[in-house]
């Protein structure tokens, strides 16, 4: 935009029409600008992770017009602009057109650059990784912790790669804090490994993505302190109902419409599961995790508090329990608990976990049409 002609030399306006028109244009444009700013930010805040999976470099998608509370409307066009060589970082151009309420003709356009980062290094160093105490109580198949890499038996060919790499069964900061009652099955390479370098950040920072960023971008946000009794896949008319708060995907039926739905679930406090719970994806628990019913989960579980498995738990993938900032709280394994490391199950969940944010430094550009 250049303004090379000095206005000092121009003729004086001969009436009120031009200033009035300028006034109207400015005000209406500001209305439109407010709309498209909100629109652009909303598009990032509710970033649809399917975009990250379905758009190849150079591909674009045009979203439908959306309404704003003040009657304005906006439309976004998303273009993937990276070359696809970095598996953990993609760039998108979000072009947003904003218009004020019907009856006023105006339009402004802005471009927002968005970086979408995938979780890197989140999981899993073991079937269970923890910082504090661990008490295992059970005998035989009643309690099993296995770091032997496994492809979930229910999953057919093509879902998982052939290569498997065994990991430790239990990876903990101080193995003196492991208390075993009975004769549980502990497997892995090795079954128990001490790593004094484990620190709090291991449970909160995963490559370029933090726990908080991931929680903020979660597909499902649940309050803490409540008891959930029925977590199950929800299908309607042959389609997975992804909006269902208690639909955490279906890892048990490869033919289910919810098999490819792996949400990020964030619980802002303690999570108590009783009854039946089936799901997959990434489960983030700010507080304690307590299972007293049946819990069958494929993917990655991160609990910032402590965990207590009293019921029948099968986690296939990996689990990390920070055990609180102050190590010394307890993580219990008892009842019928199986923690099975699976690189495939974990990687599949992680590949669906993305965080979108405006590009650092300068992401905003207004297009002058």
């Amino acid at each position: 935009m250049t303004y090379n002609r000095p206005l000092a030399r121009r003729d004086m306006p001969t009436g009120f029409a031009i200033p009035a028109a300028v006034f109207v244009i400015v005000i209406v444009s500001l209305l439109a600008l407010a709309g498209l700013y909100a629109g652009a930010m909303t598009s990032i805040a509710v970033w649809d992770r399917r975009i990250s999976r379905t758009l190849n470099p150079g591909d674009s998608v045009v979203n439908a017009w959306r309404d704003l509370p003040d009657g304005g409307r906006y439309q976004t066009t998303i273009l993937r602009v990276d070359d696809g060589l970095d598996p953990y970082s993609n760039f998108y151009r979000v072009r947003t057109v904003g218009r004020p309420a019907p009856g006023i003709t105006a339009q402004r356009v802005v471009t927002t650059m968005v970086e979408v980062e995938k979780v890197n290094g989140m999981c899993c160093d073991a079937a269970i990784k923890l910082q504090g105490d661990l008490r295992v109580q059970g005998t035989g198949a009643g309690v099993k912790v296995s770091g032997l890499d496994t492809i979930p038996p229910a999953w057919g060919g093509g879902v998982c790669p052939e290569s498997l790499t065994d990991m430790p069964g239990i990876l903990m900061q101080d193995d003196d804090r492991l208390i075993i009652n009975g004769q549980p099955i502990l497997e892995g390479d090795p079954p128990v490994l001490e790593d004094a370098s484990i620190e709090t950040d291991d449970f909160e920072v995963f490559g370029d993505v933090s726990y908080n960023e991931l929680a903020q971008a979660a597909d499902k946000k649940l309050p803490g302190g409540e008891v959930f009794t029925n977590i199950a896949p929800e299908v309607s008319g042959g389609t997975c109902v992804e909006s269902g708060l208690y639909n955490w995907g279906d890892p048990l039926d490869e033919a289910s419409p919810c098999f490819d739905y792996l949400p990020v679930v964030h619980v802002s406090g303690d999570l108590k599961l009783s009854g039946n719970a089936v799901g997959q994806g990434i489960l983030l628990v700010d507080g304690d995790l307590e299972v007293s019913g049946t819990f069958d989960f494929y993917g990655v579980v991160v609990a910032l508090g402590q965990a207590d498995f009293k019921g029948t738990t099968d986690i296939t993938g990996g689990i990390m329990v920070r055990n609180g900032v102050y190590a010394g709280e307890e993580t219990w394994l008892r009842g019928g608990t199986s923690l099975q490391y699976s690189s495939c199950s974990a990687a599949r969940a992680i590949s669906h976990a993305v965080v979108a944010h405006p590009l650092a430094g300068r992401h905003w550009f207004e297009v002058v049409e």
Binding site: P19, R80, H363, W364
Partner: protein, 264 residues
């Protein structure tokens, strides 16, 4: 015998003439007064329109530049009460292909200009920070550029040769062309105008404004709402413009605006 006498002649009496003249004078006087009143009103409206025009245009220009500037990325060079130097955006594009050996970049989504002769420079995104480079020359797309790294996607719109290393610039990185401008008021022909200059050329943009020091003023605020003179802590800026048409017209108009930087 016929009677001979003076013929009765048509015409106005002196009294009638006096009445007509008086009435005509009254009407003419009234008309003159109406015309004078309208002329004054028209002049007043016209001058007000000029003042409003100057305020709106200046606020639009300054707001547009300020919204896109990034204080954390050193886009603000100098903060003064009555003048401001910054990197003003003049172009935008997205890297779709990089040849770091020949230092050429192909781009899509081109907006604005990328001109070295005009004194523009480039900001190019890289993971470790934005590179500041001179744009040596903008080439037509047909002249050898790396092209776009997309299979079946959009094709390159232009190629720009860059002065300096561009190793590590990823495909998908935004490029922003910018020009260093200083905004302040300049006097020209007895009036004060919003002007910008880069040390070489000065553009008068809008006006007139008051010349007593109140015509253009800035207040710079940090994230806590405290006044700051640190260009890297700037988050919000309060702008005040006071317009006044010279020639003895005392009336002034004031516009205040708050601009929050969007590129943080």
């Amino acid at each position: 015998m016929p009677r001979i006498g003076l013929r009765q002649q048509g015409g106005f009496t002196m009294a009638e003439m006096i009445v007509v003249i008086i009435l005509g004078s009254v009407v003419a006087g009234a008309l003159y007064k109406v015309l004078i009143t309208q002329e004054r009103l028209y002049t007043s409206e016209r001058v007000a329109a000029v003042r409003h025009d100057a305020l709106r245009l200046s606020a639009t220009i300054l707001s547009a530049d300020l919204m896109e500037a990034s204080s954390s990325e050193n886009d603000f060079i100098e903060l003064e009460d009555d003048e401001l130097s910054l990197r003003s955006p003049v172009g935008f594009g997205i890297v779709c292909g990089v040849d770091s050996v020949s230092r050429k970049i192909s781009a899509i989504g081109a907006e604005g200009r990328f001109s070295d002769p005009a004194g523009d420079s480039l900001l190019i995104f890289r993971a470790d920070g934005w590179l500041v480079r001179a744009a040596q020359v903008a080439l037509p797309v047909v002249e050898a550029g790396p092209g776009c790294a997309y299979a079946g996607g959009p094709e390159a719109q232009y190629t720009v040769k860059v002065d300096g290393d561009i190793t590590g610039v990823p495909v998908g990185a935004p490029i922003r062309a910018f020009h260093r401008w200083t905004y302040r008021l300049e006097e020209d022909r007895g009036a004060w105008w919003l002007a910008r200059d880069d040390g070489t050329v000065t553009h008068l943009l809008a006006g007139p404004f008051t010349g007593d020091g109140s015509g253009l003023s800035f207040v710079y605020l940090d994230e806590n709402g405290q006044v700051t003179d640190d260009p890297n802590r700037l988050v919000r800026l309060d702008l005040t413009l006071v317009s006044q048409v010279p020639g003895g017209i005392e009336k002034r108009d004031t516009l205040t605006a708050t601009v929050r930087l969007r590129n943080q």
